[in-house]
Point group: C2
Chain length 374, copies 2
């Protein structure tokens, strides 16, 4: 998988590039909408492709492994065909959800034993099996199984989890290389740098993982309860340890005003459930800040949600109508709100990318910092 | 409101026409999708207009009166503007929901006193006030307040309710004519023929209401628990009592294979929550009959829901994917399923209309009867 660097900000190191995946090019920096169960909640695929022009989405291995099952998805031609999504898909390893959703998880050197949150069935994820599950999906970018700790964690616990993460990454990556040789698939597998908030562990982890010479690298173990300044600090120290000519992916971030901060620290890829989850809860991101749509001030507000946004929701409906849909618990609210919030995220990333290409990213970042709270 | 009759089936009396509303022409016979709370549940307006090409939808006065309130909708420019729907809207009087949803309703000659199902607040609907509420909406077609009984009802109860319905229709209609003179609006108000399942009462009611010389007439009091053969029988005896040169609307029906049966009895307009409600519950109407999508037979079914349907859902997704979305409780299921079911209803009506224009309706009807259960 070729990563083509197009421009780099001389001041911050922010990068603009193109990641060439088996399902088309992805301009970076990129925000990947989350399609947990093979759907970005509330959004039809045609909107995601045509209106939003998303080039890559993320799906969750844990959820799809449990339902409908990776063998069913393989039988139906893979995840792209199953969900009718012709562009790139990144899947996580399932590890994060095992640690956050499932009961009775038990970690051993072999892998992680867990019970389904749906029906209590026991399953084992190993570094090899999660690769095989993702191969059944046909994901463009797969992630290695890692051990992810919550915050705070002791140095000893973080070191132990990091070392296991490295061992699992090696096993998973070797398994992936064998499968790649057998099948000729063009997918990539990204290792994940762990180490909690400890710079020495992050550094050691990155050094070990570099030996795999992977097509890209992720920074995991963030958005687990730590203060956001700390997440940025960890990324700031970790990103420079990763290869310049490979995409760098921070998993599970962030708020809209954090996107340029991660880009300023050399990050190329991000994902987060915030735009879609907050949309369903009535929290809308606009160019003028957050709109909590249930507030009575919007009761008779004829203005569009965001006059500077070009999405169908903002072109067509008033805040008063959106508030009515929210108050009435209407499905259409989730659809219109998610469309807008995802558009806001993708537009933000497109503006960031454009400013890097034009050499104006430092001014863009300064404006966001002046307006925002980071 | 001009109703232009274009063709009539010599065998059955089925009619094809065009109803010219203030918000555009409506080809009849027509099925009106139900947009209870100013949204057809799950469907974006652009799909309703462009994909489905619906020319008229129905909205519920009771619901919109309670939330967001008719004065708010008036302030925001009326219901068309509020919900961004540029085509025709028919609103009911609210009476049916008062009788089916609200607590503590108390009927008097003045009107019906009821408590909101949302917060228990007391409200009074009168024949005049429900006209005023619908005028605030700016509905193209408004309905008079009627007294609707459940099934079965005694002849005495049905007569009393029918007579009150006639008196309310007169008061409401006179009020409407005064408002029309004051404001110059071009909307229409349709009276509703009641009389439960009694032919003499239906006939007496129709005769009284004809004096109003309204732009159209409805047959109400059906779909209240009676067997479907009886609903058809009541319509068969009532429809011929209504003026030939005005549209005839049967409220609240029906199943897909009933649509041509009502048309065969001289009906021009219908509405029903079935296509949208059943969609959300996983019951899908196809050219080969009902599909209950949760059934395990669809687990790995790569076929489209209905190979003969041209909707986005059928063009794009497999039954296996739709089943997965349903099982996972995903919002997208409701959207895709509703799109399909409404398309199935609208396509059915378009085929019926076309067959009337071509003079082949009797053959169409015979084929439906041979295939179906009516």
């Amino acid at each position: 998988m070729l990563f083509e660097l197009q421009a780099q900000c001389a001041t911050t190191g922010a990068r603009a590039g193109i990641l060439h995946t088996p399902h088309g090019p992805v301009e970076t920096p990129v925000f990947m909408p989350v399609g947990t169960q093979a759907t970005v909640k509330g959004l039809p695929q045609c909107w995601l492709e045509q209106d939003l022009d998303a080039k890559i989405i993320l799906a969750n291995t844990y959820h799809l492994f449990l339902r409908p099952g990776h063998e069913l998805i393989r039988e139906l031609g893979g995840l792209h065909k199953f969900m009718s999504w012709p562009r790139a898909i990144l899947t996580d390893s399932g590890g994060f959800q095992v640690f956050s959703l499932s009961d009775l998880r038990k970690i051993s050197e072999e892998g992680v034993l867990f019970r389904s949150h749906l029906n209590g069935d026991a399953h084992l994820f190993t570094p090899e099996s999660t690769v095989d599950v993702q191969l059944a999906f046909g994901s463009d970018i797969m992630m290695v199984l890692d051990e992810c700790l919550s915050y705070p964690a002791s140095h000893a616990a973080a070191q132990s989890a990091m070392e296991r993460t490295v061992r699992w990454a090696r096993s998973g990556y070797n398994h992936f290389l064998r499968r790649k040789e057998e099948t000729g698939i063009r997918s990539s597998l990204f290792p994940i740098v762990q180490g909690s908030m400890f710079a020495d562990l992050r550094s050691a982890c990155a050094n070990e993982l570099l030996e795999l010479n992977a097509d890209g690298y992720a920074i995991g173990g963030l958005s687990v309860g730590e203060p956001r300044a700390l997440s940025l600090e960890v990324v700031e120290t970790t990103a420079p340890l990763l290869p310049e000519n490979r995409p760098r992916y921070v998993m599970g971030v962030g708020m809209p005003d954090e996107l340029p901060e991660y880009v300023a620290r050399g990050i190329d890829m991000m994902d987060c459930v915030l735009p879609s989850r907050n949309a369903r809860n009535g929290c809308l991101f606009t160019s003028a800040g957050k709109v909590i749509i249930k507030q009575s001030r919007y009761r008779n507000d004829p203005a569009p949600l965001d006059a500077r946004c070009g999405c169908y929701t903002c072109r067509t409906f008033s805040r008063a109508y959106l508030r009515h849909l929210f108050q009435a618990g209407e499905i259409l609210f989730s659809t219109l709100a998610t469309l807008h919030n995802v558009q806001h995220y993708l537009d933000t990333m497109r503006q960031i990318r454009q400013s890097i290409l034009l050499g104006t990213f430092p001014a863009y970042l300064a404006a966001v910092r002046a307006a925002g709270s980071v």
